[in-house]
């Protein structure tokens, strides 16, 4: 297994003179079978990295769109074990890096060591935990390191400069810059000062910096892609999945949306 798929994805985009395009979907929305079809379709449409949201009963960093997706996935019986099983089955078909975005408690319940072992076995490349800040992430970090899985740190606009640098240093795979103080979801405009913040962060970061939260249109992706190593789109894609009538339409619509945004990110040099 290539343990550094994430690094390779950023390097590939960089060589092509563009930002990496990262998409988020909630695993199990509307079913794990659909997620298993979405992964190769999204990769084929140009997603460089795919984040798989692990549904949680109390997603306090998420806005209404992803809250609803989590509810649908949980109602359909989606579990962390089920997601890891699905990843294991899809992994041989695709090379795209797969990153789990999960709240802390499902991992605690499973046990960090057990989770890391199973995730590594399934072919998970990275993990993002929005409610596990630097001070609390040590025990998970140790287990993930053992499994060769990247623990991606989140950095917020409210994070002081010294702490931003520390988070970049600790982060594996890439650093996730949260563009706005807030929860996930689409916004009409990008926050003022975003470009400067990203430029400053990239100057100090030993790992690529990807930006997410509130990026929903091709125009926004283009602007952010000029100042970040990666652009992350979540709620806008999840909303399209929710609006589709059946599995065929889910896959078609999601792939078309990724193609549209990726086309833009692809036109824009990140450097």
């Amino acid at each position: 297994m290539d343990k550094k798929r994430i690094a390779a994805a950023f390097a590939g985009a960089r060589e092509a003179g563009r930002a990496a395009f990262i998409v988020y979907i909630t695993a199990g929305d509307p079913s794990l079978a659909t997620t298993a079809k979405l992964i190769p379709a999204l990769a084929g449409a140009g997603a460089d990295i795919i984040e798989l949201g692990v549904p949680f009963s109390d997603p306090l960093a998420d806005g209404p769109v992803i809250q609803a997706a989590s509810q649908r996935a949980l109602a359909g019986g989606t579990t962390l074990d089920g997601i890891l099983g699905m990843v294991g089955r899809v992994r041989p078909q695709v090379d795209v890096p797969l990153v789990l975005m999960t709240y802390c408690n499902p991992l605690l319940r499973r046990g960090y060591a057990d989770f890391a072992e199973r995730a590594a076995g399934a072919g998970v490349d990275g993990v993002i935990v929005p409610d596990l800040p630097l001070e609390e992430c040590g025990p998970l970090q140790r287990e993930l390191d053992r499994g060769g899985i990247d623990l991606v740190q989140l950095i917020a606009p409210t994070t002081p400069a010294a702490r931003q640098a520390e988070l970049c240093r600790v982060s594996r795979g890439f650093a996730y810059y949260v563009t706005v103080a807030g929860i996930t979801g689409t916004r009409d405009a990008l926050p003022a000062g975003l470009a400067d913040n990203l430029d400053r962060l990239r100057a100090v970061s030993p790992v690529p910096v990807a930006a997410g939260f509130g990026i929903s249109t091709a125009e926004q992706a283009e602007v952010v892609g000029r100042h970040a190593d990666g652009v992350i789109v979540g709620s806008a894609l999840v909303r399209r999945i929710a609006a589709a009538a059946d599995e065929t339409e889910v896959v078609a619509r999601a792939a078309a949306f990724v193609r549209e945004l990726r086309g833009t990110a692809g036109r824009v040099g990140a450097l």
Partner: protein, 401 residues
């Protein structure tokens, strides 16, 4: 005996419990809050202003009342009620909101948000915000808005916006999710007043410290009346702020037994309860690691209690630690047991307790055989006006048992 005064540690942990499990966006704000609290807790002007407010505005100290008729009815000998129900707004919650609003004004915050279950914390927050001229929004589950309509109207009269929460179980847990989401979004201008000893550090510490006045007064009053310390303290536990407020100042007094009473709802075996300390497993909810009602996949389970204020799947991290250390014993009583105690106190003492506090009273009734002959103090954490309609809807008056 351990030195209970030294907890939490510098990182906000009580043993393995507590901590800060929140989005990075909030970490700077929690650091600022921590620093501000450390500064003002030692600031004589701040302390004096808070003491004056607690005395002249909130009506402290609250009385310690010997409830002989209730004691006789349940079969114990010497029972005192710490009358937090007689504070301004009718519950202990005001002790915390006065302290936190005062802290928020010192920090230059212009807007206050809070979550509420029974509405007592919401009313106490709305009251403090009105007094200090701050904008105030309170999140409340629509299920709780229905069963606590009077408190919704009280908050609105006080100039607060009550924001209905329709997600999840539509109760306190979901209201807390929404309040945290609001805080993440508006953290620069807004102070979030958590209503119990839950949430990320330093909230469990701050709320505990502002509630310690209950135990400090109790200790002094019992000494004055009886010339000795109480033998048993009893309080209900949802998040656990009234219990920790009463227990904490006496944790070092080895002879003082402490009993926390959780809500067993329709019975522990039914699965419909709010008793994480009884049957939960440690996990993370709302920013802290503590006992939690959850399934095998780590999804948080819905809590149930006739009392909206106890209807919460988590509990304060210090209680989890006190349980594991054995210093405090935790029991649970059902909805029906709490309702029986509610009626009994009303009939025998002319005091209508909050349904939350009725759980503590029911705990005394349940353990009467063991408490007989002992000097017992129950924290009567709130008054029951807010619950009259809900009790009436369940069939109104019950026979005394």
């Amino acid at each position: 005996m351990k030195n209970f005064e030294t907890f939490p540690d510098a990182t906000g942990h009580y043993g393995t419990y507590g901590g800060r499990f929140v989005p990075e966006t909030l970490m700077a704000a929690l650091g600022e809050l921590d620093a501000a609290y450390e500064r003002y807790r030692a600031d004589p002007d701040f302390v004096a202003e808070l003491e004056l407010l607690l005395a002249d505005y909130c009506g402290r100290p609250t009385p310690l009342y010997r409830a002989d008729r209730f004691a006789a009815a349940v079969g114990v000998d010497r029972l005192y009620l710490k009358r937090e129900d007689l504070t301004h707004t009718g519950a202990h919650k005001i002790n915390n909101t006065m302290g936190q609003v005062l802290l928020a004004t010192r920090m230059g915050k212009k807007r206050i948000i809070a979550e509420t279950g029974a509405g007592q914390h919401g009313v106490a927050t709305a009251t403090a915000a009105a007094l200090f001229g701050l904008e105030c929004d309170v999140y409340m589950g629509v299920k709780d808005m229905e069963r606590q309509r009077m408190n919704v109207f009280r908050m609105e009269l006080l100039g607060t916006r009550v924001l209905p929460v329709t997600s999840g179980s539509k109760t306190l847990k979901d209201a807390t999710n929404e309040a945290i989401r609001d805080w993440v979004t508006n953290v620069e201008t807004t102070h979030y007043i958590i209503g119990s000893v839950v949430g990320p550090h330093p909230y469990p510490l701050i709320v505990r410290d502002f509630q310690r006045v209950i135990g400090v007064e109790t200790r002094r009053q019992v000494m004055e009346r009886e010339g000795r310390l109480p033998e048993v303290l009893v309080a209900c536990v949802g998040g656990g702020s009234n219990a920790i407020g009463m227990f904490h100042p006496l944790l070092g007094d080895e002879g003082v037994e402490m009993i926390g009473v959780e809500a067993a709802g329709e019975g522990i075996a039914s699965g419909h309860h709010s008793a994480p300390l009884a049957v939960g497993r440690p996990g993370v909810l709302h920013g802290c690691f503590s006992y939690l009602l959850q399934d095998d996949d780590g999804q948080v389970r819905e809590a149930h209690s006739v009392s909206a204020g106890l209807d919460y799947p988590g509990v304060g991290p210090e209680h989890s630690w006190l349980k594991d250390s054995g210093r405090v014993r935790y029991i649970s009583v059902t909805d029906d047991e709490a309702l029986a105690a509610f009626h009994l106190l009303a009939r025998r003492e002319g005091i209508i307790p909050a349904l939350e506090s009725a759980h503590a009273l029911a705990g005394v009734a349940k353990l009467a055989d063991e408490l007989r002959g002992k000097l017992v103090v129950v924290n009567l954490s709130g008054r029951g006006d807010k619950d009259v309609a809900a009790v009436a809807a369940r069939g109104g008056e019950e026979s005394e048992s």
